[in-house]
Subunit: 187 residues, 4 copies
Amino acid sequence: MIPDREFIKTPEVPGPTKEEVRCIVMCKSKILKGDVVADIGCGTGGITVEFARKAKEVYSIDRNPDALEVTEKNLKKHGLLIKANLLEGDALEVMDEIPDLNVLMVGGSNGELSSIIKKGYKKLKDGGRIIVTSILLETRAEAVKTLQSLDMIPDVVEVSISKGKITKRGTMMIANNPITIISATKV
Amino acid sequence: MIPDREFIKTPEVPGPTKEEVRCIVMCKSKILKGDVVADIGCGTGGITVEFARKAKEVYSIDRNPDALEVTEKNLKKHGLLIKANLLEGDALEVMDEIPDLNVLMVGGSNGELSSIIKKGYKKLKDGGRIIVTSILLETRAEAVKTLQSLDMIPDVVEVSISKGKITKRGTMMIANNPITIISATKV
Amino acid sequence: MIPDREFIKTPEVPGPTKEEVRCIVMCKSKILKGDVVADIGCGTGGITVEFARKAKEVYSIDRNPDALEVTEKNLKKHGLLIKANLLEGDALEVMDEIPDLNVLMVGGSNGELSSIIKKGYKKLKDGGRIIVTSILLETRAEAVKTLQSLDMIPDVVEVSISKGKITKRGTMMIANNPITIISATKV
Amino acid sequence: MIPDREFIKTPEVPGPTKEEVRCIVMCKSKILKGDVVADIGCGTGGITVEFARKAKEVYSIDRNPDALEVTEKNLKKHGLLIKANLLEGDALEVMDEIPDLNVLMVGGSNGELSSIIKKGYKKLKDGGRIIVTSILLETRAEAVKTLQSLDMIPDVVEVSISKGKITKRGTMMIANNPITIISATKV
């Protein structure tokens, strides 16, 4: 994974998703070289860049133009702009314009998580994966419920990471906020 | 417990120990009304104030004068100054001046954790308790080893707390840094 | 707190709530000597026993007769049976029979969390507290939403505790399952 | 990653390392196709199998013959036996027989962590990685200290994972034991 410090950041745009969380997201995505990915709520672009390294094509969607701008900068920095398509707007509308998907990644959903999952499911090829990262108590339960309503079997992983900060007095453990990764496969 | 926001804070002085951690520390201390407590490395005074509410007398020790000043302010704010004795200086020296203890609490040890525990053990009455809170990888292991060298049986609890921040979009979970609470009883 | 091993256990009845969690629950309850408490879904009785030690009277409700039987045994073991009233049945029905409350504790709700909170709220005296412990992703969000619908401000704490098991090779950290404690005060 | 259930298990042999932890270990290893890896204390072989999928060659060392037997079965099951060399014996002795390494992975050390790291360091090519997974309070601090004594900069990550178990009543969160992953690069 790319270290967190290797991403350009912008105030007001959340992310990048922390290294260890990106790592688990990529594992859960079972991404393959030829895959097409949508990254909904791409924020700083941490996840977009990782998918761009491994997949054929990424559609990065955010309704915040600042997010798309910094995602573009991070793609450029890592020489991956050619792999990505940056789409500004409401996810539910923009998703109409994208091709069928192997992976639907939802990192931000602006209160429309359930509709985004359902719309993405229709675009998903057989064997395709949906992955939701959630930092809100409410969206965790909503993701599980929505995936179940689509007859998918959700894999739910709550991840709490603390990182050691080496100081003169010893290794101080600093917590990252917990994040829940919900994923499922379209059979 | 007193809410975190009810403590006066000062830059550069760590603390107060978070509400839920103070809560577990107090439970582990099995504090009784007539008890005498030493709080080594009292910092902002969060733990000192809680012990002052429940015990007979607290000796709060820190080598940082700013820590003692803010601990004093917090004791005053909660009407408990009369219960506490504020002692500035190196813990190993200052501990010579204090009476026998029911509870030795070590929240900060400036690299002398092992010696502080051993010295405190001598001051500890039968049935007395030692409690160490540790945010460093190294001091956790050191506390366990030192307590074992004194034939005490350490109770080791690693506590990771996340608190919900209510936002318009939902309940965002914010992590506190993990802390390890090591405690033991003198038989 | 009473150590976990000091509770009688029965197969099929969940609990007792772990020592450190009982400790935080008691802190959040701000329990006072004269208080009346209802413990909904009392299970093994761990929380009931702690409230019985500190409050005036506890109403322990469970629809599983085995739960009430083991709760009774644990109350007897700790000499606190006189403080408790054991009520078998569906919480929503049984709650009609109990007096006004200072603390409503919900540890188990059999899919009726929202209704139990709302019914308990009506029984709650001004300044009274509602506390919900949740091990399910879904009930955490439901508790927050229900408390907000009653104009209460939820305090949400997710607690992850690991306990050290002393072995010849060192201190092995063993995780307890995470639990979320949601609490609020009736203004 | 290979799901946990896809590994053959044997009583008394620890592991396999859980999927999400294997995932982070692989990310931290920055493994490349041509790499040579040693897996010290290979246990059930979970980590060995993952390295065998991505690297050129793995040397799996354990002093427990049952561990090597089950590791061999798991390599066979995943068609990777050809990539691995199974070596029974004390790590410090067996390490003399292996070639230079790109990755030293230490999952079990039988009280000799510091010596194993130091010996492995000598075998490590420039740019090579050392990774230690620790479930003991003591070995975490020991790994950091040893890596620092070799002028390496340790990356310390404590990982707490809970997995959702879908039940009729909701998604029950079940904790895995916390594990600390310490890694460093030879400059």
